[in-house]
């Protein structure tokens, strides 16, 4: 629905031309950067992540068969596996693809052993704490973008599980976690330039994409019956903040007395649409991710959010607590308000 160039970053060459920088020196520098590993396209990173997950499952079964996953032995084995994974990855040279792949797999299997043992033996609170602690520590310690993405996801989900249990399994705790993750996602991309210029630059994209995946995952409980009445509106706040901040950044809400009323009305309609569709937080979460993706030019995040939107709406059909008519009413109300808001914004633009 959105032409590619609108959500695509400028190329390196275009930026250098604007800044009047010698392209030959830049080309040589970037070729050398790629020779040393550099960046890989997202499809290759996804394949590496899939391979690590597959291999981790095999290693986990192996640990169980070897009796290394029982009781405290499981924690010990898991911690050793994580340590070995970190050591292997930190000492891997540029282009050590096999070593990197093995390090990822060993570490992911180690995570499963430690968190699984903690949750099974000591309860979900300990499991959540273990996940949050491991995620936080390895986000910094493991110098691998795929692992950092997983660490963000594991850590944030661990914190959400912790909040859920401590609150007495209240859906509002998950809604609060959704709000926090949504706000965090917006903040990570809002301050992209500052983070990219700092010593934490390597954490930026894994952290951002990890939070986006967490946002999607935390929307899924609303497909279960217990969550329907609670907390979907929890994503209203970060969504409203994101829209307002993005609009302010780009002069969309610069005072124009002749059309200010229409703009306010359009945003009010959008807010009302989110409130009406509050039992579908997946829709609002996808909308937030789409906005962030457009804001910072990340087409992969955009594509992922669109697929999640379609998948969530499809799965919501099977949610049993609300009748199909109640769902149809929520969707129709939200859809009509969104189309009305578009009409108002178009008229404002035409003036």
């Amino acid at each position: 629905m959105v032409d590619g160039p609108v959500i695509r970053r400028p190329t390196v060459g275009a930026l250098l031309r604007e800044a009047g920088i010698d392209p030959e020196a830049a080309r040589a520098a970037l070729n050398a950067h790629d020779d040393e590993g550099g960046e890989s396209p997202w499809a290759i990173r996804a394949l590496v992540g899939f391979g690590a997950w597959l291999c981790a499952i095999i290693l986990l079964v192996l640990a169980i068969l070897l009796d290394l996953a029982n009781g405290s032995m499981g924690v010990f084995t898991g911690l050793v596996a994580i340590g070995v994974g970190v050591a292997l990855r930190r000492t891997a040279g540029p282009g050590s693809v096999f070593r990197t792949q093995f390090a990822l797999s060993v570490s992911v299997a180690g995570h499963a052993l430690v968190i699984g043992f903690a949750a099974e033996q000591e309860g979900v609170v300990t499991g959540g704490f273990a996940a949050a602690a491991l995620g936080g520590a390895l986000l910094v310690a493991m110098p691998d973008p795929v692992h950092r993405f997983l660490s963000t996801l594991i850590g944030a989900l661990g914190l959400a599980a912790l909040a859920f249990e401590i609150s007495g399994r209240s859906p509002w705790a998950v809604a609060a976690a959704l709000t926090a993750v949504g706000g965090g996602l917006w903040a990570v991309f809002r301050f992209e330039t500052r983070i990219q210029a700092s010593r934490w630059a390597d954490l930026h994209l894994p952290l951002g994409f990890g939070l986006a995946a967490t946002l999607a995952t935390l929307s899924l409980p609303w497909l279960a019956d217990d969550f329907v009445t609670a907390g979907g509106a929890g994503v209203v706040l970060p969504l409203a903040v994101a829209i307002a901040a993005i609009a302010a950044d780009h002069g969309l809400i610069r005072p124009r007395p002749e059309s200010a009323g229409r703009l306010v009305a359009a945003f009010a309609l959008l807010a009302a649409a989110v409130v009406i569709a509050r039992s579908t937080p997946g829709v609002a979460a996808a909308a937030l991710a789409v906005l962030v993706a457009v804001h910072r030019g990340h087409p992969v995040l955009f594509g992922g959010a669109v697929f999640f939107f379609a998948g969530f709406l499809g799965a919501w059909y099977y949610q049993m607590e609300l009748t199909l008519f109640a769902k149809a009413g929520a969707l129709a109300g939200a859809g009509a308000l969104v189309l009305l808001a578009r009409l108002l914004l178009r008229r404002r633009g035409a003036r």
Partner: protein, 336 residues
């Protein structure tokens, strides 16, 4: 492949800009300026355009979903005339908008919505006049009715909907016994999955054969290719785990489609640069099938346990590592 990879044509990510700074091509102040420029996003006019399209797609999508949810409820309080009348009115409203603004984006979105609503109308017809016909006929009729709209608009989301509906019709036809496999009756599971790979494979082949100017957007070609690989992978898994048996013809057909599609994805016979996403999908499919086949050999033929698992783990690392290395090499040679 021959054009090669120019790193200056890549997106200006933070890592690339920082690499320029680390290697002394730009100074610290230029680093900050380039980082800010690279992530600046659209300007005010660009934002207006983006918001316009996003709100149109979101609003239309939610409204179409609402209509489908509504009629799926089969509300007893509504009579046949009201049900059919409201479904027809919804199709006419969306179709009327499409006719009123055929060259505008909103018109094409309305046409796609009318395409989706046509399915709801057929479902309502099936609810009201229960003829006992199989569900696949509904999907087949729906796909048939979409043909002129697809040809007239050539709008990618509508094309995707059309292929999906056609594939669902085929799946249901096989499930409900409408497709015969000779004396054996209903095709087996392998044949079913190979057939399901057919519509996306055909759509993919047609898209690739079109001249550059008429080819649909790359995302749609990728969706077709990945859909084809997904169905073939399931067919392959069934063949490996259950054995081919009397369905050997289907297995052979599946292998042929996989070889042609996979070869094309990996660059055999292509004059254009290969598509990295489709090449990755082909290799992922191959890795899954090889790993499962190896597991059968290791655990059943060789009767290994722990040693077999270790062998499998190394096999996965080897395959994924090799695939990633080759894909990176292709990317640097010009693959996109």
């Amino acid at each position: 492949m021959s054009e090669g990879h120019d790193p200056l044509d890549e997106a200006a990510t933070g890592a690339r800009i920082r690499a320029l700074h680390r290697r002394g091509v730009i100074d610290a102040s230029t680093l900050d300026a380039l980082l800010a420029r690279a992530s600046a996003g659209p300007d005010a006019a660009g934002w207006a355009l983006v918001l316009d399209r996003l709100l149109l797609a979101l609003g239309a999508g939610l409204c179409v979903a609402a209509v489908i949810y509504f009629f799926a409820g089969n509300w007893a309080a509504l009579g046949a005339a009201e049900k059919l009348g409201s479904a027809i009115a919804a199709v006419l409203a969306a179709g009327g908008w499409a006719l009123w603004a055929p060259d505008r984006r909103s018109g094409r979105v309305a046409l796609t919505a009318a395409g989706g609503l046509t399915g709801a109308l057929l479902a309502v017809y099936g609810q009201v006049y229960q003829t006992g016909a199989d569900a696949w006929t509904l999907f087949a009729a729906w796909a048939g009715l979409l043909v002129p709209w697809v040809l007239a608009s050539r709008f990618e989301p509508l094309i995707a909907l059309w292929v999906l509906v056609g594939d669902l019709a085929l799946w249901l036809a096989i499930e409900q016994g409408a497709v015969s496999a000779g004396a054996d009756g209903r095709p087996g599971e392998i044949a079913q999955w190979v057939m399901v790979a057919g519509p996306p494979a055909l759509a993919w082949a047609v898209a690739e054969a079109l001249p550059e100017a008429r080819r649909p957007a790359r995302w749609l070609v990728r969706v077709f290719g990945v859909g084809c690989y997904a169905a073939l992978t399931v067919a392959g898994l069934v063949a490996i785990l259950d054995g081919g048996g009397e369905q050997s013809w289907a297995a052979l057909l599946g292998v042929a489609v996989a070889l042609v599609g996979g070869g094309w994805s990996l660059g055999v016979g292509r004059r254009r640069p290969i598509d990295l996403v489709l090449a990755t999908a082909a290799l992922t499919s191959a890795i899954v099938l090889v790993t499962v086949a190896l597991a059968r050999v290791v655990f059943e033929a060789w009767d290994l346990e722990q040693g077999g698992l270790l062998l499998l783990a190394f096999a996965v690392v080897g395959q994924v590592g090799g695939a990633a290395t080759w894909l990176r090499r292709m990317w640097r040679a010009g693959a996109r």
